[in-house]
């Protein structure tokens, strides 16, 4: 298996999205405001979900292309 098989840029982007989502979520936990819940769900949750979905898509696409290569 080579590094070329792993779309490194997509993994890095997924990691960045998740990092942003987790930091936003953590910040809302110490922010005492009714808006913090909305920020948690829509910013923290949205970025994290996007990062996880991109990671999942990357490994699934990679798995499929590997099977086709076999």
């Amino acid at each position: 298996m080579t590094a070329a098989l792993l779309p490194a840029a997509r993994v890095e982007l997924a990691a960045r999205l998740l990092v942003a989502g987790l930091l936003a979520s953590a910040a809302t936990l110490v922010w005492k405001s009714p808006l913090s819940f909305l920020a948690f769900v829509f910013i923290g949750g949205g970025l994290s979900a996007a990062g996880f979905a991109l990671f999942l898509w990357t490994i699934i696409v990679q798995g499929l292309s590997q099977r086709q290569g076999d």
Partner: protein, 200 residues
Amino acid sequence: MTTLLIGLALAAVGLLVAVGKRPELLERVRGRLLGMVAFAMLPGLVLAGGLGSHLERSKTTSFCLSCHVMEPYGKSLLVDDSERLAAAHFQNRRIDREHACYTCHTTYTMYGPVKAKVAGLRHIWRYYVAGYPEKLELREPYQNRECLHCHGGARSYEESDAHADDLADLAANKTSCLECHSEAHGVDSLATSPAWKERP
């Protein structure tokens, strides 16, 4: 709980930075396990725990009173008048003071907590975007069910002479508790009401 969740979030961030900089780690079996922890398990724990933490916080009295439109209702808890329901319940610890608003204003049905959360989102929308009326009113008539959740079956309620003839009607919501206990918050007369101060 908050400290633990922030710690988990930072741990996840550390792992994500490591994996993001060296994606080739994911090509090994151990690296894939690390990837699962960094991309799924830790973020999942943080988000699930964070959601629970936010939902719990939204039940607290301080959360409800953090919008300035609720200030008079917060003050009404401290009025020195035992005829007012909110003040009597709060001052006599008939309800948990940390969850005073939620205890009386949630619906005690299967989906009551969900309805309360949806109502909370609507309140945030009205507060920040759509605007709210000067005089707040309940969207639906107050149900006896919410009172009887605690008072139903209590000796002081069941054996009270004042309730004796109306127990069936009260249980069926045909007679409202508020017909007799009509002063719930009394925010209109706060300015002229003396305040109660708890002894230190």
